[in-house]
Amino acid sequence: MSAANGAPNAATRDDPPSDEARASVRSVARVLARCLRLLAPLRNHLLLLCAGFAGLTLLLVPPSLLFLDLIWTRALQGEPLPELHAWLLRLDPAVSVHVDALSAELRRSVARRTIAGAVGVTALVAPAAMGLWYYQVWILQRLNQLLRMELIERFQNLSLRFHSEARVGDAIYRLTQDSAMVTSLVEVLLLTPAYTIGGYLLSVGLIATVDPRMALLLIAAWVPPLVASLVFSTPMRVGFRAARAANAALTARIQEGVVGIRTLKAYGAEAREQAVFEQASRDAFAAAFSARQRFALYAILIFAGVSTVLAAAAAWGALETSREAEVFAVRLFAATGLGAWNLGLFQWFRSRFGDGTNQLRRLFRTWGRAQDISIGLARVFEILDLAPEVVDAPDAIAVDGVRHGLTFRSVGFQYQDDRPALESIHLEVPVGGITAVVGPTGAGKSTLLALALRLFDPDRGAVELDGVDLRRLRLTDLRRAVAIALQENLLFGTTIRENIRYAVPDASDEAVRAAARIACADEFIEQLPLGYDTPLGERGSKLSTGQRQRLSLARAVLKDAPILLLDEPTASLDADTESRVFGQLAVWGRDRAILLVTHRLSTVRHAQRIAVLHHGQLVESGTHDDLMALGDGAYWRLVRADASEGPEG
């Protein structure tokens, strides 16, 4: 027990308590405010739901009072019935109302009729309550769905600078686990408080009609849970945050272990990976343990606190009943014949007071859970708050065909670290054939393509399409005008056909085949038993690298865009296939602008223009012959290194 008590205190000392304490109220409030915006589309459903629950609760107040009175005071004690009771139970007032006491037979009759009535009411109310609950689940799921969609959209729109840092596993965790928190949040921060506070106020009001002093006691029942919350909110928050971070790290760990499985096996690192996983798993459990036991202790203390008040109130009520004290709102109760404390009223008072304290207990337990939820949501909002770096200008221009081509004008760019990737690049990529950019590994070639696609914006200078800065164009139009095939082949786990027509979902089979022919992909596809309908594994892992490259090339060709960007699209093809691919691309691309970046000189044979990139700078440009004529230039050196490869030496 001492260890258990020590844990929260130790945590309080470790962390700046005042900040965290303020944060707990503030962040819950802030998160709630953000959620209200998400609630807007579901407002009417929520109002209807609350109205349903409120109606049901109020409807049940008179029957519950009546039931306890009939059982305890009338059936068990044999007191004569008030007129109302007799009428409701269809009993003759002559023998049930205007007598000193009920006969044993009549008491049994009262009991039977009361129970029958209660069964009838339950049969009506239970399905209605379940229906409302189901409705609530539907509303909360709908909300969760809306948030998930907002998250995934944001993930897609964030620039690549973000994605190079983040882990996919972490993102998935945020998307599914953390976004589900919004559901809980609405349930926990909005619906539960609405129900519990409503129920609590109802109890206070009803008890005030019996004895206002006891209503004050019910209000005083706030004190113990409030004290517990003050003490526990901060340690719980600290614990929940650690638990979530540990769990996200574990998910990322698993994801990575699965993605890299081939390498892990090849290097005999399975045992070590297993050890790392088990450590991550243990860390996650340890963090969860420490957070959850704080929450459990908090909940136990709240129950003990409010229950002590309830026990005291019940003892007080028993004394009042023993001396048959008059109730406060005599007139209100007179109609029902309940002017003074009796056994039925005592039972009703006890259950009403118990309901009030129980609502308080729920409310404060909810507060404890809210600490967890507000952290989960803070992580979700962290993503939602990341502004996408690339956004449309307010007066963005539509792209309407491409006449001249792309121009890089004094473009400079650097990644988050300080190494400049590109420096004052001037480059024309006109319509009509292939413009090749060659250069050694790491010269900045791929960055050039990313800028043309506007995955990033340049830090200096501008990239222009037909003389218009890309930043002034509508992003969707720009991306529609550009097709791309990359060195790394991103395929989806659908069929080959679906992959090829990814960008043009309604393309005809004929168009798919034509594109595959240009990319020399038809030859291997047609040899597959299922041909174009062959399903690919995750990331197309059933195919060889060269085959995947040709598929992504076919996909880019099928898009039929005026601009085609190629990043080492044939690095894994043998020379013969590569040569055929480029021969066909050159013909296909006569009325388009094709920008090819490569380090393989074999591929630039079909290029109309060649530019040489070195350490982020454009050092030479011209046709193959122009550049060779420069003598001892950068291009010349590259060619010489490559040319020593001829079959004869």
Binding site: L76, A111, Q156, G268, F289, K542, S544
Partner: protein, 644 residues
Amino acid sequence: MSDGAVQTLSRALRFVAPLRGRVLVKMALLVASVLPLVLVPWPGKIVIDHVIEGLPLDPATYPFFVRPFAAWIAGGSVVEILLWTLAVQLVLLASVGAFGASGRERDEADAWLAGGHDTQTRTENEANAGFSLAGGVLGFLDLRYTMRLTQDLNHHFRSVLFQRLQALPMRTFDDERIGDAVYRVMIDTPSITTACWRILLTPIGAPAAIGIAAAALYFGYGEHPALMWAALGALPIALFATLPFAGALRRRSVDSREAGALTTSTAEEGLSQVLAVQSLGGGARERGRFDRDSWRGFGAYRAVLRTGMAAFLLGLLPGGLLASWAFLYTIDLVIAGTLSRGDFLVVFAYFTQAAFAALSLGTLWFELQGAAAGLSRVFRLLDLPSEADVAGAGTLAPILGEVRYEHVSYRHGDGTLAVDGVSFSARLGELVALVGPAGAGKTTLAHLLPRYLEPSAGCVRIDGVDTASVSLASLRGQVSYVFQETWLFDGSIEENLRLGAPDASAEQLARALRLARAEEFVTQLPQGLATRVGRGGSQFSVGQRQRLAIARALVRDTPILILDEPTSALDPETEQALVGSLREAGRGRLVLVIAHRLSTIRSADRILFLESGRLLEEGTHAELAARPAGAYRRFLELAHRAVP
């Protein structure tokens, strides 16, 4: 319940076996936490009979476990009796968290946090389930004990699953979606909590609570045995009223989990392919796909809920009838003057207790069905054939001489022959190039050496020993393989380099980096070897990643090194330098290179030329290039034509 579910659950129980001592303690705690409930209703009776109604207190009318207290307060004033009773209630409250007659006045400690309304988000609660049937001090201690126990069980279970994931043959992952694997480890494994605790603990806790209530009724009201039998009757009613729904619930539970896995998988694919999605304008479509999958997951969960609700409503019927009968029976006893009104309260309290316990037993089937669904997904994965050593596998001695392929063939699952009767040998000290057009079977042939694949026919011998007869660990410990698509994990460069050789010295790392031509760019990084590489190595260009992967292989210093197109992303200058270093590094070992680049091929000691899975020609570059109508020469001519 179906046979499959029974089998799954009994298999789950085997994972508890190592924890059985602690489970027994938990069972004892369970009984200990329901035992005090026997005392809870009596203060209510004392208040009604002796405080409110002022009846005289005769200790003899009380059962033995209340009699001492009744004797203690007998003869006191109304206020004294009331205060002593209140004191007892507060003691019960602090120790076990229960003090009143109704179920609401009882605390059952738990640490259940809010989850979303789908199967997936509820599992974290399951993985960390701590609970007790009591509150107060006892409840808290019980909860801590249980939570530790649950976590240890889950930790063990998911570690076993993760280990199995790693032991699967590589080809298994071609079809399994990655998101699905993550889902199984994180989402499906916690089902074992529900399965095991419900099977082991509910049948003890619920009957104990019902039994205690029945026993108390027997000791308190032995002259009316019907009361005891009514309490015991709750048990069969709860158990069998809901049974007819079990099958439907299991089917829907399976649907719900599978829909959840699909959502994760869609998200995984969409996020890891963000570049393709953005550049191809597929964002809206990916979102649509996710939207659909995700909503389907929610719908499947609601179907589970509907079935559960229907079962609950129908289960209410027999239970309600029994309760009504017992209620009326007791009232009649009061009216007849046999029992007091306080007794009515006590009987009512014990019935409530029994009903609550029965309710938890009644949902047993449902929760077991859901848990069985999750577990059967885990077990399906555990049952996939894993890479295993043959019985009595030997250890491969340090490789001294040669590798020999003897009539090796490999057939894919779909029947196509990837490697067709290939025989060759290669000695340590050689640099051998595997050459041939795309799809010739080069990579498959190389995969057969470290047994990533097992030959369909023929065998691979090292120093005369069939590799199939030695342990995988001893074989792979002597082969380093650099894959075509490099994978770096998200740690520092140094951690990546040490993947296969944790104890490598700093000099070894430096040498490997130098030989792989990675030294220049690594030393330029502000944090050098400590630089974090980012997801999948995304901080670096493809060429840089390839060089790091080669360095990682060199650090291992194994007799055999296999490079699968190691230089496809390098420029010619870097590549030539790298090939030079490979020659240097290859002294005393066998380097097997799959290559398209002529410069690499030319520097090989020997070339194996493959086409359509067959070894067509073998020899040095000069020999093969000199054959007038040779396949290699034809291949070279095409390649040469491609060079400007």
